[in-house]
């Protein structure tokens, strides 16, 4: 589940980003970043539960949204929005990683095919 751990850590960075980039007075960025971080935490957390184990794939949608928002909301993007592009691209890679990434898929753990 290391992919999910990295997602949760990245969401911590995202939640702190408005303060790191000094834009906490901008309510849009502040609440959007906190909301996105909460959403990523939720989706990563749900991936630990078997019935919702694929929830992390929805982070791909969140990532694409962050990249588009960061790239086109203000041109050229200020540092706070560059951060959205970078975090979005990073999450795009991490969200693809399967839950039990170092083990074969469940179907291949059986002795014979069905």
């Amino acid at each position: 589940m290391w992919g999910r751990v990295v997602e949760i850590m990245t969401a911590v960075w995202l939640a702190g980003s408005p303060f790191i980039f000094g834009v906490q007075s901008d309510a849009t960025i502040l609440w959007a970043d906190l909301g996105l971080a909460l959403l990523i935490w939720t989706l990563s957390g749900l991936s630990y539960w078997h019935p919702t184990r694929h929830a992390h794939l929805l982070i791909l949608v969140v990532s694409v949204g962050m990249i588009v928002w960061g790239r086109f909301y203000v041109t050229p993007p200020p540092p706070a929005h560059e951060n959205h592009i970078v975090v979005g691209l990073f999450l795009l890679m991490i969200a693809l990683i399967p839950n039990e990434a170092s083990q074969p898929p469940r179907v291949w753990r059986q002795q014979t095919s069905t």
Partner: protein, 210 residues
């Protein structure tokens, strides 16, 4: 079912024509480490492009690196991407490390999508690095030492990653050649399993090595 049910030999079999398993940790960990080194170098270059440090490290070409990193070409790439090219390099190298690390030691068959995605990250990155070196030579007219180092690393990564990508493609090719069914190829790509896919894997593994 627990992982203990998989015989270790099944996960670590050599894949002809190679005399090794291209998905073995001994093959992938060096790729991850080298990609991580390149990512750290790219972090240094992007810190200069962001203006956090006054100069990029260059023991060979001196000020030349700074000219490359703040060149019109670099600025126009920033205009297109919205982030500096060195920052994109950090992400691409981290991607190599992440996608190289994920998957079991038989992922060439169990998760071809992951291996091919890894190849798509590594191989174009090598090509982009060569293109950027050509830009340094023919457009900017200056050289950047650390950029050249990362370009060399990119080419080494392509060389190291190729055997695994080739094995996955060979497996998919066998699936197609033996069955001529798109849905089986689709299943093979996503790591699903059935008797035909088991057989395709065995055909590849039982090839004679010269």
């Amino acid at each position: 079912m627990s992982r203990a049910s998989i015989p270790v030999d099944d996960l670590n079999r050599n894949v002809p024509p190679y005399h090794h398993n291209p998905s073995a940790w001994s093959q992938r960990i060096p790729i991850c480490l080298l990609a991580f080194v390149a990512a750290i170098i790219s972090v240094h270059l992007s810190l200069y492009q962001w203006g956090f440090i006054e100069s990029a490290y260059d023991p060979v070409f001196g000020e030349s690196s700074n000219k490359v990193l703040k060149s019109d070409t670099a600025k126009s790439m920033y205009g297109i991407l919205g982030i500096h090219d060195a920052a994109l390099g950090v992400l691409a190298y981290l991607g190599d490390a992440i996608l190289g690390f994920a998957g079991s030691t038989r992922r060439w068959q169990y998760r071809p999508w992951l291996v091919i995605l890894f190849g798509i990250d590594v191989i174009p990155l090598g090509i982009v690095s060569v293109v950027l070196v050509l830009f340094q030579a023919f457009v900017v007219g200056s050289w950047c030492f650390l950029c050249l180092i990362t370009a060399v690393i990119s080419l080494i990564l392509v060389y190291w990653a190729w055997d695994e990508v080739r094995s996955s493609l060979a497996y998919l090719f066998i699936v197609w050649k033996e069955n001529h069914k798109w849905h089986l190829l689709w299943d093979a790509f996503w790591g699903n399993r059935n008797e035909q896919l088991d057989a395709a894997g065995e055909i590849l593994l039982s090839r004679k090595v010269s």
